[in-house]
Every structure is written in C-alpha cells, then in structure tokens.
C-alpha cells in the first residue's frame, strides 16, 4: 500500500515564502470551498520577492524538465467557470532541467509589478492573483503549487469631489431636493447630506437610503447585471411638515427608468431658498462590505455603487431616485 500511496503523492513538497512575510500585512481571502485563509497583501508597483523551496521526499529523486514561477492576474467569469483570463502573466525560470535529490531554495523576484486591478470576489466574477510554481516533468504530470495573494490599490484624496445635488419629485405631489456632500467616498467615509422637502402632498411612511452595488459582467449581448442592496438605512420616520410650494425655478422634467412603476421625476436644480423641512443624512460606510468602484476592468466587468433614496408612502408604494457614487480606497497617510 505504501508503494501505491507513494506513487500518487507528489514526490516533493513545494512551498512559497515571501521575503517580508513577517512585516507584510495579511488579509483574509475567501476560497471557493468557502473557507477563508490569510494571504499577504500587495499593491500596484510593488516588488514581490521570495523563495521557492522544493524538498523531495526522503530518498526520492525528482526528475524535472524545468522549474518556473509565474505571477498571474486572472479574471474568472461565472458563466465561463474554470476558464481563466490572465491579464497579467509574468514568468521567472528557476531551474534548468535536471534532477533534485535534496532540498533546494530558489529565490525569485518580480520587481515593480504592474497590478492595476484589485482582487475582487463578486457574484458573477472573480479577480485574483496567484504565484504559481510549476515543476515540469516529462512522463508524469507537472507538479504545480499556487500561492494566492491579494492586491489592493490606494488612491489619494481626489482633488475634485463635487457634491451631489438634485431636485426630484412628482408633479404637484412631492418635490424634494437632496444633497450629498460628495460624489466620491472612500471605504470608511461617511455620507453626509440633507434632504429638503419642498412640497408634500402624499403621506410618507418612511424614507431610506440604500447603497446598491451593480456588478455587470461581459459586454455586448452577453451582459449580466447583478444588483445587490448592501445597506438599508432609515432616514426618516413619517411625513414631515408640508413645505410651501416653491416658485421661481425652472422645471425640466426628465423621466428616469426605474424597476418599479413608481418614478421620481427629476428637475434640473436651480438653487433657491429652502422653505420646508430638512432631514439630515449621515451614513457611515464602514459597516458595509464595499469595494472601490471598478470601471470596465479589462473589458470583462464593472462594479459600480449607487445611493438610492427611497420614499415609501402610506400604501407602501416606493418612490426612489438613484445616484451613482464613486467609491475608492483611500491612501492612508500616516
């Protein structure tokens, strides 16, 4: 039996270590089997330096036709599972063909690696990075060992960060104006804003702010769009006091498409004094598992975030207005 087991077992142990393992941050990564493992964290333009240790089993001889290490950035789409698209692929040859009798250490270095995309684990798409060691053999299969790592890219504070202001409503029923202080938020940011009620002729039960993630994969005819609501945050309870109807602003009504029958019409905002009640908005993003906004990653997928203001009326009809926000990972300056 021993012989048999020995036949299927790889004849050597392969491990990959990083040179700065002790100091490098580790983050958890969820694997396919649902388990989370801790893996090192890198960012764009970093050098990935380490060693590959190959240790043949006691008394065994390992013949190979070459040893190489690859750094791969891969995108895997759900409808095309198992088929990886490599957008980054770097190779280092570690050894020429030969035989191994004892433990051997191969240092490797990928310096200033271009890793513009972040690791991402979405509904229909995954983007991951791996280091892959391949010991090529002739007759039997290659020995392959992988080590995942995570890439996160940081962005400095955007120089332009306009607020979002908008006036929406249903003609002669409801006019509101909302304002979020910024259009770009980092992951631990707070959404600060205000909602002004200019005219209310319906009975409002509550008002919520939702954060929605919209992940679209594929392009053209085979586009899959997946929308998740990550946060539901109640902003207001019951109907505020009726505001006075505001005159003196132009109304340019544009109908927006929405998933339910209820639509909020939008007017271009002309600033004016606020008459009615204002409701404060303060939503901390920290508790929600957001990622930065990804736009058109290698023509394969996009991840976008929206703030969705929802007003629920007395008959549980929902009126809403969605606004895209940009989420980024803030470069934390110590």
């Amino acid at each position: 039996m021993n012989f048999l087991i020995g036949a299927f077992k790889p004849p050597c142990n392969v491990s990959i270590t990083f040179s700065d393992e002790g100091t490098r941050a580790q983050v958890s990564l969820k694997k396919d089997n649902g388990q989370s493992i801790m893996v090192p964290l890198f960012q764009n333009q970093e050098s990935i330096i380490g060693e590959v240790i190959i240790e043949p089993l006691q008394g065994k001889k390992l013949e190979h036709t070459g040893v190489k290490i690859e750094l791969l950035g891969q995108i895997e789409l759900l409808f095309d599972k198992g088929n990886f698209y490599d957008f980054t692929s770097l190779v280092r040859e570690l050894d020429v063909p030969g035989e191994l009798y004892e433990r051997k250490i191969y240092p490797f270095e990928f310096s200033n690696v271009e890793m513009p995309h972040e690791s991402y684990n979405g509904v229909n798409v995954r983007l991951g990075f791996i280091l892959k060691v391949t010991i090529s053999r002739n007759i039997v299969g290659n020995i392959v060992e992988c080590q995942d790592f995570v890439v996160r890219n940081y962005t400095p504070l955007p120089s332009i960060n306009n607020s979002i202001k908008m006036e929406v409503g249903i003609e002669d029923c409801l006019h509101i104006e909302f304002e979020y202080s910024k259009s770009k938020y980092h992951l631990r940011d707070v959404i600060i804003g205000k909602i002004y009620f200019l005219l209310i002729r319906i009975k409002i039960k509550s008002m919520e702010l939702e954060i929605r993630r919209r992940e679209s994969t594929g392009f053209g005819s085979s586009t899959y769009v997946e929308t998740e609501t990550l946060a539901k945050y109640e902003l207001m309870d019951s109907t505020p006091v009726r505001g006075m109807k505001n005159s003196g602003y132009n109304m340019l009504l544009i109908y927006f498409r929405s998933f339910t029958l209820q639509k909020l019409q939008m007017k271009l905002l002309i600033t004016h004094d606020h008459v009615g009640e204002s409701i404060p908005v303060r939503l901390f993003l920290r508790p929600y598992e957001l990622t930065p906004t990804y736009r058109n990653i290698n023509n394969k997928f996009s991840v976008k975030y929206y703030l969705n203001l929802v007003i629920v009326d007395g008959e549980d009809r929902r009126y809403f207005k969605q606004q895209e926000i940009t989420v980024y990972r803030l470069l934390e300056t110590p």
């Binding site: 109640e234 309870d237 019951s238």
Partner: protein, 737 residues
C-alpha cells in the same frame, strides 16, 4: 366600539412591553458579559418597540418609560465601556450603524450623554448634532417622545454659567440655541398632530394633544432654568424666538398653551421689561385662541408682583406698563373681530384690576379703562350674554371693592356709561353692590355732585328703566332693594346745611321719578333726613349773615310739603299723613306757626278725603291727637280749630269703643302741663264725660245684642284718664267751687 379600541390598545401595549422586556433581558446578558456588539443589537431591537403607531399617547408613555429605564442602564454600561478603553467617539459612530432610525437616535442620545460627560468634545457640538439628527423623526408622537428624551438627558449637561460644561463666551448662546431648537421642533410636531387623521376624531386628537403639551412646555421650563439667560438675553433672543414660533405655528391650542407657559415660567420682572414684545404678539394669534384668559393671567401676575415688591413699582411706571397693556387689549380686540363681548369685557376687567392694584393712585387709568370698555360696547346695544354681564359686574365691582369707597368710584366719569349697557336686572345687581359697599364701609357721601353721580349709578333701583314689566319682579326682592335705597338715603349727610340742602334737593329730584311703587319706600327717609336738617338749622342762630340764599327752615319745609304731596298722589294717605304730622312737629319746634298749621291742614284734608278704612282712621286720629297735643306754637284760634276738628273726627269714628277711646284721648289736647295758657279743665271734663257717655251707649248696645253685661274695659280706661294729674286738678277746682 370605543371599548374595542381600548381593549386592542391594551393588547398592543402588553405585546410591546413583552417585546421590550425580552430584548432588555438579552441586552442585560450581553452587558453582563461585556459584549458590546450584542448589547447594541438587543438594545436596538428593544427600542424598536417604540416604533409602534398603534398606541395612544398615554399608553405610549407607559412604553416609553420602560424603555427609558433600560436606557439608563445602557448609559451606565456605555460609560463602563469607555472606561474599559473603548473610545467614546467610536461608540458614538457605532450606534449610528443601526438601520432603523428611531432606535438609532435613542442610542445616539444615550451615547451622546456619555460623550458630553467625558468632555472629549465640547458639549455644544454634541448637543447640536443630537438635536439636528433628531429631525429624522417626523412622526409627531414618536418625535415628541424622542426629543423629550433628548431634553431629559441633556438637562443637567447644558453648558451654563458655573456648570462644569461651561465653554467659552458663547456658552449660553449654545445651550439656548439647543433648547430653542428642540422646542421649536417639538412644537411643530405637536401642532402637526392636529392635522393628521380623519376630521371626526378631532376631539380625541385634541385630548391627546393636551396630554402631550407638557412635553413641549418643559423646554420653556428648561430655558427659564438656565442660569445664564439674563434679562438681556431673554429680551434679545429667547423671547423673540419663542414668540416667533408661537405666532408661526398658527395653532390655537399651541398658542394658548405656550403663551400661558411663557407667562408662568419666566419671572415677572422679565415680563415687565419685555411687555411690549410680549403684547405685540397677542393680536397676531389665531382668532380662536382664548386670549383673554392668558392676558388676564399676565396682568394678574404682574399685579401680584407689584403687590409683593414695592421696589418694582417704579419699573412699572418706567415701562409704562399700563398704557402698553391698554393698547394691546385694544389691538387684540381689533384683530379678533368676532371675539364675543364677553371676551372684551373680561380683558378690560383684568386690566382694571391690574391698574387698581399697581396704580391705586391713578384714578384716571381706571377711568381710561372704563372709557375704552364703553367704546367697545357702544354700538352693540344692551348686552344679552349672561357671561358678559357677569364680567361687567366684576369689572364695575372692582373699583368699588378696591377703594372701599364709592366716592372714588364716583369720580370715574365713564362708570355710569358702562352701566348703560347692562340690562335692567344686572343694573339692579350693580346698584345693590354699590349700595352695599356704602353701607359696609359707612361711606360718607357729602356733596350734591357726588350724590348726583351716585344716583346715576343706582338708577336701576331708583326708577323703572324702559318699561320693565312690573309683575315680573319679585315683591320680596323689590322691597329688599328699596329698603336698601332708603338706607342709602339716610347715609347721605353733610354738616353744612347749605350742602345738605342741595343733597336733599338732588335726592328729591331722583326719587320723585321713581314712580308710585317706590315712593313709599324712598320718601320717608328723605323726609326724616330733611327734618334732621331742620333740627340742625333750628339749633343754630337765625341766619347770622342775613344771606338771602341761605337755607332756612322755611325753604326746607316748602320742599318737604312738595315731597309729601307727591306721596299723597300715589295714593299712600297713611304714610303721607304721618309725614305731615312729623313735619308739623318739626315746624312746631322751629316756631313756625303758619307752616305747622299748613301741615296739619294737609293732614286733616288727607284724613277726610283719603282715609276711609276704619282701622286706618283710628290709627290716624290717634296720631293726630298725639301730635297735636305736643304742639305749642299755635295761637288760641288755630289751636281751637284744630282740636275741635280732632274731637269731631274722634266722635265720628265707626265703632263706639273706638269713639270712646279717641274722645278720651282728646282730653289731653286741652291740658298741656308745661304751658299755662293751655289748661282748659272744663273741656277736659267735657271730653271725659262724653267718653263715658259713649262707653255707656256701647255697653247698652252690647247688652241688647248679646243679652249680657259687656266688659268693663272702657270704663277702666276712662277711669285711668281721670287719674291723670290734669283731671285731678280739674276735679279739685270743681269741688272747691
């Protein structure tokens, strides 16, 4: 139906409490094991019970109180948590992750309290944030309770002078701003309740609202407790802001309650200094607001304030409190066009009371008030509304009561003009009040003008006003009233005969217009007070200056005869006769023979022509005899005429015993002890004999009629007369002869 609702409500409350307790239990467990995450989770769930819309304010309060108790424990837990190293800032953020707004805000307030205590951030910033965030609750009931919670936890943490949270110079402004904002928002929510739900539940809603009003009012109380809110700040910021809210909310319940609250909560001294600002608001209130009560309260408080501290009085003058109030009332009435008369009168009544208390020396103020009142009443005709008349009575009674002296009230020229608007019944009541006051305080009314004015006031009792139906008047009441008028007439007195004469003339003028029913009551006191005057004149030397215009007994007698004549026209002959005789006696004492004779003549005429009832005749004849006996000024001729007539009348009485008695009484007429020329023994005896004869005849008649011997009473009586000294003297003369 109603019972069903109440039952359901009870059920919901029970369910709510159960849910609350269950989550509180888990929360405690989490707190015991220092599990912040779970504690937050369960506390949020616990607070979710407060999201219900099914409970009435009363029941909701019950639920709230339970949650409140739990939140106290949670606060302590938060505090311990910060001591264990959890940063309070993080905690402040952490509670805001709660998805539902109501639990979130309750938690936020709770952590906020810990945050302020930690002093890691200025109290004002935290308070500002809290009060701002609370805007998210727009549901009236839930919002009111949430904000009331906020007010509760922040109460001892307001930055104030001397408080540990005192910040920089603007400290007070910050606390004030905070409380004011919370107040404003709460008031908005409270007012909004009125406009929710179907119209048919209006009454119920108003009841519910009144249950909640103290939550709103408490803010004003907090404001008044802030040490740093001094007069300037109050005047410049607090009051205008509060008033702005009051005016803008346009809700009658709120306006009434809040105005009342302002008046009750802040010190009187402030009110006095901000009177103008405060008063300016009243005309802007909703027409349905019960302004009069509020304004009356204010005036009452101010007058009490004035009463308590004498130093305050100059302040009142300085700020011209009175004229401001007066103006304000005018404006209020103007603004509230459909205010009932009753309201206007109440206002003036309060103002009058205020003026009387604060400026007792300024009678012109009081008169001004009455004048304004008259202006309001004019054009409305007689007041029918019973509430209004009641108020007018109060209004008019106030000065009388205050000064304890009608004389002062008499100086108020507008006083009688107000009276004109009363109906007759009330007029009488008012007159009684006036008279009673005179009686009680023994007020001396000493000049003719005052008398004139006084009678103007009580004219409801003096004469019939535009044809009141007499039969409606209760006889007893009428007598009571007229008796009091009679008593009043007695009270009018001046030691100076000139003035007294004028007084009498004035009174005469008034009472003669009183009509036949009143004269019998009012004439006698007047006659007697005139007689009193005569006696007084008689005591003095005969007009030392020889002044033509001076009052002489003659003049008075002339007047008297006119007065009594009026009485005889009614007719009330008995009374007139008595009064004539009284006058005759007075004339006798003044040595005015012709006058006395004249009065007797009048009396005799009355006797002959008017007195027909036999009983009345007996009384009358005895009165005549009695009076005549005491007269001493008559010359022989006059006297003879009068005595002769009297004897004649006596003998003509209807019944024998009466004749007999009258005749023997006449015997006295011929013998007056202290006058030498009036001792006619013969005629005395004649009279007595005649009486005997009549007595005999009477006896016989009785015998015939009954066949028995009659009583000897008459004989005994005659014998009695014989025992009189003059009879005995006469008898002696006879025997000597």
């Amino acid at each position: 139906m109603m019972a069903g609702v109440a039952e359901d409500e009870e059920k919901w409350l029970t369910a709510g409490i159960a849910g609350l307790q269950q989550n509180a239990f888990y929360m405690h467990r989490a707190m015991d094991s220092n599990n912040l995450r779970d504690a937050l989770k369960y506390s949020a769930q616990m607070l979710s019970e407060l999201r219900t819309s099914k409970l009435s304010p009363h029941k909701y309060y019950e639920l709230y109180m339970r949650a409140f108790d739990e939140l106290r424990k949670l606060e302590i837990f938060f505090k311990e948590e910060t001591q264990r190293g959890c940063s309070v800032v993080d905690l402040y953020e952490l509670v805001q992750h709660a998805g539902n707004i109501l639990p979130r805000l309750y938690l936020l307030c709770t952590v906020g309290s810990v945050y302020i205590k930690s002093k890691e951030a200025p109290a004002r910033d935290i308070l500002k944030d809290l009060v701002e965030m609370c805007r998210g609750i727009q549901h009236p009931l839930r919002g009111l309770f949430l904000r009331s919670y906020l007010s509760q936890i922040s109460r001892d943490k307001l930055p104030d002078i001397g408080s540990e949270y005192e910040g920089d110079a603007d400290t007070i402004m910050d606390s004030m701003e905070f409380v004011l904002q919370n107040f404003t928002e709460m008031n908005k929510l409270w007012v909004r309740m009125q406009h929710q739900g179907p119209a048919r539940d209006k009454e119920k809603r108003e009841k519910e609202r009144s249950e909640l009003r103290d939550l709103v009012g408490k803010n004003l109380h907090v404001l008044s407790q802030i040490e740093g809110v001094d007069l300037d700040l109050y005047k410049e910021t607090v009051l205008p802001r509060v008033l702005e809210q009051v005016v803008n909310c346009k809700d009658d319940i709120a306006q009434h309650y809040l105005m009342d609250c302002i008046i009750q909560v802040f010190p009187d001294e402030y009110h006095l200094q901000t009177l103008e600002i405060l008063l300016d608001v009243f005309p802007q209130l909703q027409p349905s607001v019960d302004i009069k009560t509020v304004l009356s309260q204010l005036m009452e408080r101010l007058s009490n304030y004035a009463a308590l501290s004498a130093e305050a009085l100059p302040e009142f003058l300085q700020v011209e409190a009175f004229s401001k109030l007066n103006n304000a009332i005018g404006k209020v009435i103007e603004a509230q066009a459909d205010m009932p008369v009753f309201g206007a009168v109440t206002l003036y009544s309060s103002l009058l009371k205020f003026s009387l208390h604060v400026h007792p020396d300024r009678l012109d103020y009081a008169d001004q008030v009455l004048g304004s009142c008259v202006k309001q009443l004019s054009g409305r005709g007689k007041i029918e509304d019973s509430k209004a008349t009641k108020q007018i009575v109060a209004l008019l009674s106030a000065p009388v009561e205050k000064y304890n002296n009608v004389v002062t009230a008499l100086k108020l020229s507008n006083y009688p003009r107000v009276l004109e608007y009363l109906d007759n019944e009330t007029n009488k009541i008012m007159a009684s009040v006036v008279i009673q006051s005179v009686m009680k305080n023994n007020t001396r009314i000493t000049t003719a003008e005052k008398v004139e004015a006084l009678f103007e006031l009580i004219k409801g009792l003096i004469k019939d006003l535009d044809g009141t139906a007499h039969d409606e008047v209760d006889e007893e009441d009428f007598k009571e009233e007229q008796n009091s008028v009679a008593r009043l007439i007695q009270m009018l007195h001046n030691d100076d005969p000139e003035e007294m004469f004028k007084i009498i003339s004035t009174v005469r003028k008034h009472i003669l217009s009183g009509g036949p029913k009143r004269l019998p009551f009012t004439v006698p006191p007047l006659v007697f007070s005139s007689v009193k005057l005569i006696r007084q004149l008689q005591g003095q030397e005969e007009n030392p200056f020889g002044d033509e215009a001076a009052t002489t007994p003659n003049k008075v007698f002339q007047l008297l005869s006119q007065i009594i004549e009026a009485l005889s026209n009614i007719p009330a002959p008995d009374l007139a006769l008595r009064l004539y005789l009284q006058c005759a006696e007075a004339a006798n004492d003044c040595d005015l023979e012709p006058v006395a004779y004249e009065f007797f003549t009048q009396a005799y005429i009355l006797y002959e022509e008017e007195i027909s009832d036999s009983k009345a005749q007996i009384t009358a004849i005895h009165l005549i005899i009695g009076t005549l006996q005491r007269m001493h000024i008559f010359g022989v001729e006059n006297r003879d005429t009068l005595t002769h007539k009297a004897t004649g009348y006596s003998a003509k009485l209807l019944k024998k015993p009466d004749q007999c008695r009258a005749v023997y009484a006449c015997s006295h007429l011929f013998w007056v002890d202290d006058q030498v020329n009036m001792k006619d023994g013969e005629r005395v005896l004649l009279c007595l004999k005649r009486a005997l004869r009549i007595a005999n005849a009477a006896q016989q008649m009785l015998n015939v009629a009954r066949g028995a011997v009659g009583s000897l009473t008459l004989f005994v009586e005659i014998l009695n007369k014989y025992w009189f000294p003059h009879s005995i003297t006469v008898f002696f003369h006879r025997t000597q002869k």
